[in-house]
Amino acid sequence: MIDVKTISKRFGATIAVDNVTFGVEKGEILGFLGPNGAGKSTTMKILTTYLVPDEGTATVEGFDIVAQPQHVRACVGYLPESVPLYNEMRVEEYLTFIAQARQIPIAERARRVEAIIDRVGLRAVTKKNCGNLSKGYRQRVGVAQALIHDPPVLVLDEPTSGLDPQQIIEIRDLIRDIGSQKVVVFSTHILQEIEAICKRIIIINQGRIAANGTPAELARKVLGGIRFRGRVQGNADEVRDSLARLDGARDVQVEPRDGTAAFHMVFTKAGDPGLAFGKLAHEKGWPVLEASTELSSLEDVYLAITRTR
């Protein structure tokens, strides 16, 4: 569990983190979103005790980051933005060093190193020097060192940056897999990614938390609703009337397309727009050809927040 209370951090005249408060529970994957230089990395550095906040404090698994940094470090796995590899060390050697530094007992060390090599898919490069690895493997070694001691809390600063789509999916699946039993905080600027794996999002802009909630909550708050689109078989006018009468529907647009009605609307009420729509379609007996919440919602939220300030 992470509990951040009103932390601030200045570097000279610039305020990198300004009065930030949030919490993360076990089993929750929290996504940090924001433009470059917004304060994501600084917040993560504070959480991992690399930096000390000027004001405020935070607890990680009940330990105070300022008063008990050693305890905090023991229960956090951290992947910094620039993957911290020693270029002359072989992958296996590097992970063994991390296992030692993490104080994993000698009897368990080799087993842990082997396990993490398999888990993260490093088998092919164990004898290679870290300096000779491709970007994708470097990132994986970085993830491996963060996971080697099986920490209850994971802090990952842009774990998928610079990876190709296949690698992104692998890392994403790994995070999702791990996330169910851990507290995970990770940052990215790939919006689809955050939508795919995060239960909750925090958007940081100019050091402040600009928004905090589930993707749907944010869309509702910032855009006034979630966009929902689909196509049903039926008369366009009739579909328009029915959808417009739906509780919470706004800006309903329908156009006929090859005997079907393609629609687009904004759903302002709490709850899943898919459920409301599904019930309506069932009631009316409409065959549904397509229906989905629009993925661009988050993008619009992000742009709306970061553009206005």
């Binding site: 550095k45 991992t48 005790t49 690399y50 930096l51 000390v52 000027d54 050693q70 305890h71 470090r73 023991a74 956090v76 951290y78 910094p80 933005e81 620039s82 993957v83 911290p84 590899l85 020693y86 270029n87 002359e88 060390m89 060093f97 991390i98 030692q100 530094a101 993490r102 104080q103 060192q145």
Partner: protein
Amino acid sequence: MNIWTIFKREFKNYFYSPIAYIFMIVFLGFMSFVFFFFLHFFVADDANMKLYFQAMPWFFTVFTAAMSMRLWSEEKKLGTLELLMTVPMRSHEIVIGKYLAGLSVLGITLLLTVTVPITVAVVGDPDWGKIITGYVGAFLAGALLLAIGAFISATTENQIVALMVTSVTGVMLMALGIQYVGAEVNNFFGGWNVGDFLAYFSPLNHLDTLERGVLDLRDIIYFLSMTVLALLLNHIAVERRKY
């Protein structure tokens, strides 16, 4: 235990790259060259060994700078400092572990120069007492210069800057112990004995007694306290990142 973890990695790190070998060879080469060519070793008397030990700390200024330059600046450059500072280790353990690794390489290099006095012993009859105190002095001076280098390395992410600044600092610190320099500094400060005061902080002043074969506790305390001071500064430089 943590100190040992850091020590092992750091010690191996010296030998991953050819830099350590190159500097060791250059240092050993220089020392032998100086001895056998400049000092007329066939005379092989104690005066000769004295010159040998007087030359050594000057070579150490560059050698220890080369040994210490990557200790911290490389970590800063690679971003691995962020890793070291977020694993459950205390900063002083890392400072000590790194320093001891450098000190070991220094000690090994010094051991390898033992061939010189052994050669002298073969052809002549040197005073072993003076040779031992001479080596003690060289090791203590090297230990101090290395600690200063470690501190300077922790203030920059550029190894070359660390090398330069450390070498210059070392040479200046040594030079303060030269009588002529001390007198000039006194003059500069209009007769105040600033030069004499500063000379006390020069390793040169304390090496003198050791080279004469005298182990004076005051000199040992000087070297140890200055080394500890440099390591404390190193610790502060590492901790300062937090704020």
